[in-house]
């Protein structure tokens, strides 16, 4: 009888394991039942999004679950209809827009972010001044020494060392890289694909430099390596007190990246009335605007498949464009200019809510 007993106990163990799993899924089912909306995408705006979602849940009881899996993954999951909304640091391409499960997609800018140049020049105390074409040539290996005449011309009061410039870039695909290369693409003709340059993208073929993993990888490398230069998100640079370069904008001013100058960059961009908001605001014409600034977007279907969810999403976005904008600055994100937030609130009516049967 021993074998039978062992067989029986095996069955019992398996049975318990199964029922354990059942109760597990039961629990998660109840917890997902408490979540009203699911979203996925960009990591860059994750801190402000999670603050918004928790504030909104506290105010209205509507729970929104957001997974910061990266813009690429967000676009993929949104296109396949797995999540109710997506989030991305770069707009979807025309090609991507044709391959969605539920038809037309609307891009809604949420906040603004900026990419800043950080560097390690030990003795130099005054903030370095740089321009788009100089940054581009540093990242294309055309400028290799810190005391290059073109850097010196921008920084007449700084005594620059005669050392090699060590270039650091992101190794992981990221919205930060997209914004940075989008800026170089706009500010320097030689950076473009047409001119044989690296072009713009979340991951480009860098002509020179070391790849750091994430903001912390780039910042860590720059902090440790004398003579290095790299780019990171503004929030990261501020919270870690990294040296930040002033960048020359189209109006010829050297601008420090901060909340005001980033919002000014968006205010300077004139959007036509029929815009789809898939616009780049880098290197914009606005006075006082910081040139390496960008929107980050929420992706929403024009005709969402689920009416109840769509209504909740629209209500949240209306809140986001009013109360939500005010909490952005505390987390080092720049709020949208007031009139733009208003325009976008009006645009929410473009999301057609299907008739409930």
């Amino acid at each position: 009888m021993r074998f039978l007993a062992i067989a029986l106990s095996t069955v019992t163990v398996l049975g318990t394991a199964c029922s354990g799993r059942d109760s597990g899924t039961g629990d998660s089912a109840t917890s997902t039942a408490g979540v009203d909306l699911n979203g996925a995408g960009a990591t860059f705006p994750y801190p402000i999004y999670s603050k918004w979602f928790s504030d909104y849940a506290a105010a209205t009881g509507v729970k929104i679950n957001y997974q910061s899996i990266g813009s690429g993954g967000g676009i993929r999951q949104f296109s396949e209809g797995i999540v109710d909304f997506g989030a991305s640091d770069g707009p979807m391409s025309d090609d991507e827009l044709t391959r969605t499960r539920h038809g037309a997609v609307l891009h809604f800018p949420t906040v603004l972010g900026a990419v800043v140049m950080t560097y390690n020049l030990g003795a130099v105390n005054t903030p370095l001044r740089l321009s788009g074409d100089v940054i581009s040539d540093i990242y294309m290996k055309k400028i290799t020494k810190w005391n290059d005449s073109r850097i010196a011309a921008l920084n007449p009061s700084v005594s620059l060392p005669a050392t090699d410039i060590i270039v650091v870039h992101r190794s992981d695909g990221s919205g930060t890289t997209y914004v940075f290369t989008d800026y170089l693409n706009s500010a320097s003709a030689s950076w473009t694909v047409a001119a044989g340059g690296p072009g713009r993208g979340k991951e480009v073929n860098w002509p020179v430099g070391l790849g750091g993993q994430g903001n912390e990888g780039v910042a860590g490398q720059v902090k440790q390596t004398p003579g290095s230069i790299g780019y990171v998100e503004l929030a990261y640079a501020k919270q870690n007190q990294l040296p930040i370069a002033l960048i020359r904008n189209k109006a010829g001013e050297f601008v420090e990246p901060n909340i005001a100058s980033i919002t000014a960059a968006a205010a300077g961009v004139l959007l036509p009335s029929d815009t789809d908001y898939r616009v780049s605001i880098v290197n914009g014409p606005g006075a006082g605007g910081y040139p390496i600034s960008s929107f980050t977007w929420l992706l929403v279907y024009k005709t969402p498949p689920d009416a109840a969810k769509a209504k909740k999403l629209v209500d949240f976005m209306r809140w986001m464009y009013t109360a939500g904008q005010q909490s952005a600055a505390a987390l080092d994100y720049a709020p949208l200019p007031g009139d733009l937030a208003q325009r976008l609130t009006t645009r929410l009516s473009e999301i057609s809510l299907p008739q409930t049967p």
Partner: protein, 329 residues
């Protein structure tokens, strides 16, 4: 490795105890047990085949477009849709082999000390500490590497190798010392695989029968001669098994390497130059890859990594096999 063979009668041949359920003279419990273990054993190759199939299927668009060029090209340009994995293949193999060269002698030394020389009271805690190295998460190694190892390499080790020893005249140690480099990746990998090799080697060395040692000592061998001529040859194939285990771990290691190797798509003979590995490029780019070709090129890297691992393991196994066949001295 044991010499003693305990003669156990085949349970199936033994008559089932009185009263047990039987089928064709066999215990039903045994049949169920046998069936279950067979299913488990078959599940492994099936799973492997399934993974291989999925990876190759997902990699197909890139493999079809670039063909053999995927293995030989050094261009990796997501903007233009040009993908070649040669620098990553090179980086994966070189960093792992370099790590083995650094780790294997060290691990063997640790194992010999623990099994032959260590006082009893020290053996347990020291073994525990070495094994503990295997429990540290990869990302912690990466962080430690970034903030401790890289500055040491950049400021002391690399200038020492290049200038003081004059190795900078060879292509292997030339160029500027950034820190992030093939060398940094190899050193961190060496530390990470050390516990695997040393744990296996230690167990194997301890399993060498006393009689083997006593025989050597009785012949008038010194302790060193005993270890060299009697203990290590006896444990040879087991030690090599440990080395293979370490190699497998090094080939697939992702996070710590990604944080230290510099992530540059370039083949450079210099160990001071940054490189790339197959696992790193997948970790770096998969989340943000949107085009079908880019995703499929990353999957192709996964397929290549699978093949590289298989080939390296096969070579290593062949080595073990040929060594184990040699007559013991």
């Amino acid at each position: 490795m044991t010499d003693t063979v305990v003669a156990t009668p085949d349970p199936a041949e033994r008559a089932p105890p009185d009263g047990a359920l039987t089928l064709a003279g066999r215990s039903i419990g045994d049949l169920i047990y046998r069936g279950l273990t067979t299913v488990f054993a078959v599940a492994i190759p099936v799973l492997l085949a399934f993974i291989t199939f999925e990876v190759v299927a997902a990699a197909w668009p890139a493999l079809r477009q670039f063909g053999f060029g995927f293995l030989t090209s050094s261009t990796w340009d997501a903007v233009r849709g040009q993908f070649g994995a040669a620098p990553m293949i090179y980086g994966t193999v070189v960093s792992s082999i370099l790590a083995l060269i650094l780790a294997a002698p060290l691990a063997l030394g640790v194992a010999i000390f623990l099994s032959e020389f260590s006082p009893r009271w020290l053996r347990q805690p020291l073994s525990f500490l070495v094994d503990l190295l295997a429990a540290i998460p990869s990302v912690v190694y990466g962080l430690w590497g970034m903030f401790v190892l890289l500055p040491i390499l950049r400021e002391s080790v690399m200038p020492f190798l290049r200038d003081t020893l004059g190795l900078g005249r060879t292509p292997f140690f030339s160029g500027p010392a950034y820190g992030n480099s093939m060398l940094a990746a190899a050193v961190i990998l060496a530390i990470m695989i050390l516990p695997y090799i040393s744990a296996v080697s230690r167990e194997v060395l301890m399993a060498v029968p006393r009689s083997q040692r006593e025989a050597a000592l009785a012949m008038g061998a010194t302790k060193w001669e005993m270890i060299r001529d009697a203990v290590i040859p006896y444990a040879r194939s087991g030690i090599l098994g440990g080395v293979i285990l370490g190699l497998g771990r090094a080939l697939g290691e992702t996070m710590a390497v990604t944080m230290l190797i510099g992530n540059r798509h370039e083949i450079s003979p210099s160990l001071f130059a940054p490189g790339y590995t197959l696992a790193s490029v997948i970790a770096n780019e998969f989340a943000e890859a949107t085009t079908v070709l880019h995703t499929s090129a990353l999957m192709a890297c996964g397929a290549v990594l699978l093949v590289v691992t298989l080939v390296v393991n096969a070579i290593a196994r062949w080595l073990v096999w040929s060594v184990a066949r040699e007559p013991k001295s």
